[in-house]
């Protein structure tokens, strides 16, 4: 069944309906490397407990949490013969956080376990929340289609560690536990953090002015491009999405620290000879460790470009098989998905499919998708990891998309579930 939201992954796709109205859909993709939510949370009676020890015990040396959330509020597509035009709005959250296991170990369990060792505690973050207003255009022939989309972006809030400056290591000497902190760290934020010193900071997770923010100084531009080729029973599709960035100027704060600091405790030699001890130098050293330089320069957060490449073969009128390659490339992370799919149509009112995906190094992703059309109303849902949806805590990939469309002027059925 042709699902209008396929246009989101390939702007050359406009389906065979003259009018497509997406009344709201949501797409969430969470990839957890290392510890899972289930490792962190447990319920005891009415009490929700974050178990730090259990979380740490299940961590890899390097861990990450990748969260992509897209809420499409309205998505209208019109076919004018060979020309397709679309207009859409979405609110998107793209968050990636990577941290070494040694970091929570040090913070929550102490550094005594690392005596004599240098541990890396630097972590990376890329958080980008924005409104997207998109205008798409496609040209469609019988054998091929091409399309593009230009997207006006308005940043709600953002945070980003400079990929070239996100290192911090701690060495605990085995002598008397002298601490050496080597840091070269820069955190760029907008509407996310106000940091004065180690005892005075404010973390802003939810946007202060709400999520529907279509103006302001945090602006950007992005493009999507796509093409489709139909060779009888064989169909090819290729697209690249999110080529662009947002420049954050509003409430932008860039916090940075750099240097190597050795803390040995106060030197009380002077006290032994009857003089006053200069604790200030020791305090100065501590102060330097936490001293952060703040500037209000603008910074740019790149969207994570995505690429789709797929092929489908219509085995019969009711059954289609396909293969798909998906890549997503951010400053800190890249993700690759290779998927195989089978799709069954049930008349003109329903379709269902099964997918098997290899997501990075995870081989246990079995997905389902389905769509139902009742008159002009189309409902669809899909996931690449059924286990993650049914029992979110147990999966390290949690992925789903669901939505509601109105479609008019049905010309020709196409399959859902690319």
């Amino acid at each position: 069944m042709d699902v209008w939201q396929q246009n989101l992954t390939n702007p050359a796709h406009f389906g065979k309906n003259k009018v497509n109205v997406g009344l709201g859909s949501i797409y969430s993709n969470t990839v957890i490397e290392g510890v899972t939510i289930d490792d962190i949370l447990r319920i005891e009676g009415e009490q929700t407990i974050i178990d730090i020890d259990a979380a740490i015990a299940n961590m890899n040396d390097q861990n990450s949490l990748d969260q992509y959330l897209s809420i499409e509020t309205l998505n209208i597509g019109l076919n004018f013969g060979k020309i397709g035009v679309s207009l859409s709005h979405a609110i998107k959250l793209d968050a990636f956080y990577e941290y070494p296991k040694a970091f929570p170990q040090t913070v929550f369990q102490g550094n005594a376990q690392f005596i004599g060792q240098t541990v890396e505690i630097g972590s990376s973050i890329n958080l980008n929340t924005y409104n997207e207003l998109a205008l798409g255009l496609a040209y469609q022939e019988e054998k091929f289609s091409i399309g593009g989309r230009v997207k006006l972006l308005t940043g709600i809030n953002g945070a980003r560690t400079n990929p070239d400056r996100n290192s911090a290591s701690l060495f605990t000497d085995d002598d008397i536990y002298q601490l050496t902190l080597n840091a070269d760290y820069e955190l760029q934020t907008s509407g996310f953090l106000n940091y004065t010193d180690i005892s005075d900071f404010e973390l802003q997770i939810a946007p202060e002015d709400g999520v529907f923010k279509l103006g302001g100084e945090n602006s950007g531009l992005a493009f999507d491009l796509g093409a489709k080729v139909n060779l009888g029973k064989l169909h090819f599709s290729a697209s690249v999405l999110d080529i662009g960035n947002i420049e954050y100027k509003e409430n932008s704060k860039i916090y940075s620290t750099s240097g190597s600091y050795l803390y040995e405790g106060p030197d009380i030699s002077q006290a032994l000879s009857g003089e006053d001890v200069d604790f200030q130098s020791s305090l100065d050293t501590l102060q330097k460790i936490f001293e952060v330089t703040e500037t209000n320069d603008a910074f740019t957060v790149n969207l994570a470009p995505q690429a789709y490449l797929s092929a489908k073969y219509d085995v019969s009128e009711k059954f289609t098989v396909g293969a798909l390659y998906y890549g997503r490339f951010s400053d800190n992370n890249s993700k690759t998905v290779i998927a195989l799919s089978g799709q069954m149509k049930f008349g003109k009112v329903a379709s269902a499919g099964l997918t098997y995906s290899i997501i990075d190094d995870k081989f246990t992703n079995v997905g389902l998708n389905g769509a139902v059309k009742l008159g002009p109303v189309q409902i669809f849902a899909l996931t690449d990891n059924l286990i993650g949806v049914v029992s979110q805590k147990d999966g390290d990939v949690i992925n789903f998309r669901a939505g509601l469309n109105l479609v008019f002027g049905d010309k020709k059925e196409v399959t859902a579930g690319e």
């Binding site: 969470t30 913070v107 955190l187 916090y255 952060v292």
Partner: protein
Amino acid sequence: MKFYILPFLAVILLAVSCQKISNLDDIEIVSSDAEFAVPLLSAEFTLQKLLDNFGELAVITIDPDGTIRLTYDGEILSQGADVITSAINDVLPLGFPVPVTENELLLPFSIPAEYEFDFISLKAGSLVYAFTLAPEDEIDLVLTFPNFLIDGEPIEYTVSAVGGQPFYGNTLAPTDLAGAVIDPEADGSLRVLYTATNADGSNFEFGSGLRNLAFTIQDNLEFDYLEGYLGGEVFDNDTPGEIVIDFFGEFTRGDVWFQEPTITMTIDNSFGMPVSSQAEYFEVVTVDGEVLPLRSDELGPDLELDFNYPGLDEVGESKQTTYVFNKDNSNIDSILGSSPAFIRYDVNALPNPDQDTDLRGFISCESEYSVNLKADLPIYGRASNFGAQDTFDLNFNDYKDVKSVEFKIVTENQLPLDIGMQIYFVKNDNSIVDSLFADVTTVISSADVDGEGNATNSSKEETFAPIDAERFQKIATEANKVFVSTAFSTTGNGTIPVKVLADQKVEVRMGLKVVRE
């Protein structure tokens, strides 16, 4: 650290917020105890630095070989010429009239009896005379002081007087005696002569009309120089001397033996006559209150030491005499090796100890002698369980979430000293709650020494002092003070004499592991 934790907190919240949790306040974060390791303090010192603090009264000097030397200066005992001149003044008829009733008057001037002055020069003084005469008389009077010479000539007054005036003399214009010389008769007496004649030259009988003839040496007399035999009366100091050795006051127990202590007595003397010291007492008082007298077979029981002195041709010069009490000529090593608190002494001077009256001497108005004592304690010796202690306030109110701690003490020591330590956690009433170690523990180990007592290496020691949760909570809730007790011993538990050099360092570093809830 908090700066780096911010992204982590953010994402934890982000992740949690994806769950079906209605109220984040309901979330409880649990984790096992965290153990942190942090450096506490470090210190580097030399014994010289410590001594700068301990012994405020000591001068610390370093020998060319690096040996540290503590030098304590004593109070200076001194005696000036007034010890003799005041005695003379006491016997001279100063300030009151001496009646002249005979033509020749002999005044005894050998008091004190043992003094024999060959001559005396005066720096100041004045002489007046006066008499009365009956109105009907007229005389010529000559009053002579043959033993008072001004410019080599005797003082003589010649007066022609006609009776009728209230009195006669120079009371309104006294004779200035500055620069005058008193040259006593051979028997030490002073002669005063007078003659009175009538207008016709005949002798005027004293007592007829001439009355009240008298002279006065006014009491502003000051001696400039005295020569002769100046007696054998002891010059007694009014104030005894003391050397406070405050270094030992910092320590509370144990013994220290200095291998080569000395006390140097230096006398500067410008009295021009033989003088020897005569000690009423010279003793060491230990920190325990024990009194140990200084003995010297060489100087005898009164510690008599002859002072060098200037000869008659060396007036104005000062001669110095130095005597060093050491372990070879006295018992100084045993009395100073017993933790002295102070040395007290009263050293007088005995002039002309041989009482040889043929030996003529002098004093000038500037003559004096001074006795200066200096105790010298080279840090070369033995010490055993030599202890110091101190008390500090303690407040563990901010450590309620601490379950246990472990101190780590690392020391590197170039000194040939073992230093043991115990720390007691005590209540306000000084009752002991707990102690850091089970017993006094050597936290700083002595460096090895060679046959001459010189340290040959640096000794490293690591000491761990754990305090478990139960003990720590008891200390945290009950103790208000820490009582630190230290004990020093030289290599071999105080059996081997060692040298402590200025550049020998001790490094002390302390770290802490703390388990927090």
